[in-house]
């Protein structure tokens, strides 16, 4: 695309990634969560794809796949944390450690350090969706044509 599109894309991509990170980080307090934030962050990959073309993003393919694998592994490991009680037991909720503060009951102003394993799973699923969607889009850009090599 033209130099205007490429310049605006360079400016906008960090903003989009930051907004996706915000949606993931506050997933247990405000509307949003891992899927939505990951989809928002993956739209940055779509913008790069439109602005710079698929061949220049070829080296982005394997990092995105690795990101998806890491997100999935982190999700399963976090689910196994509570295996002492049951699979997917929220072990960290109310334990006082990282994200371990107990949430106030009823309407509140929202405290970031609550939620137990839920925010960590938000991050895992967010990275997983970012990697999966970005990899699919880059694959379509690279190999989606009829006669491209």
């Amino acid at each position: 695309m033209s130099v205007v599109v490429r310049t605006i894309a360079r400016i906008l991509v960090p903003v989009i990634l930051a907004f996706g990170g915000y949606v993931i980080l506050h997933g247990h307090l405000t509307p949003g969560g891992g899927f939505q934030g990951g989809a928002v962050a993956a739209s940055a990959v779509a913008l790069l794809l439109v602005a710079f073309g698929a061949p220049s993003l070829k080296k982005l393919k394997s990092p995105l796949s690795v990101l998806e694998d890491l997100g999935g592994i982190a999700f399963v490991v976090l689910a196994f944390l509570g295996i002492g009680t049951t699979f997917f037991f929220n072990l960290l909720a109310g334990s006082g450690g990282l994200f371990g503060a107990a949430s106030p009951i009823g309407p509140n102003a929202g405290f970031l350090s609550t939620g137990g394993t839920v925010p960590l799973m938000n991050w895992a699923v967010g990275f997983k969706v970012l990697g999966g969607l970005g990899a699919v889009m880059v694959l379509f850009g690279l190999f989606g044509g009829d006669d491209d090599r």
């Binding site: 969560g33 909720a93 949430s103 997983k128």
Partner: protein
Amino acid sequence: MRRWTVLAAFVIVAGSLLLGGARMRPFGAPRHDLMDRYFNAWSQTEAATSNVVTAIVFDYRGYDTLGEATVLFTAVIGVALVLRRLKR
């Protein structure tokens, strides 16, 4: 002939769907909401999460999310396998 059969089937399906939508229970008054009232009342105590939907997705019904993550993974692998070109 075949086209008219498909059209008749479509008309039957359309009639039943529209009738079922119009004759459903009143909008805004769900009947079986015991589980949802439990989630709304206890998600802040059990999962320490103010967002009830996130508490359900990642805590109460984590198995669904695990299966969904598997589906996403499989879709990425499937797209990569279907679209790749073998070197000749």
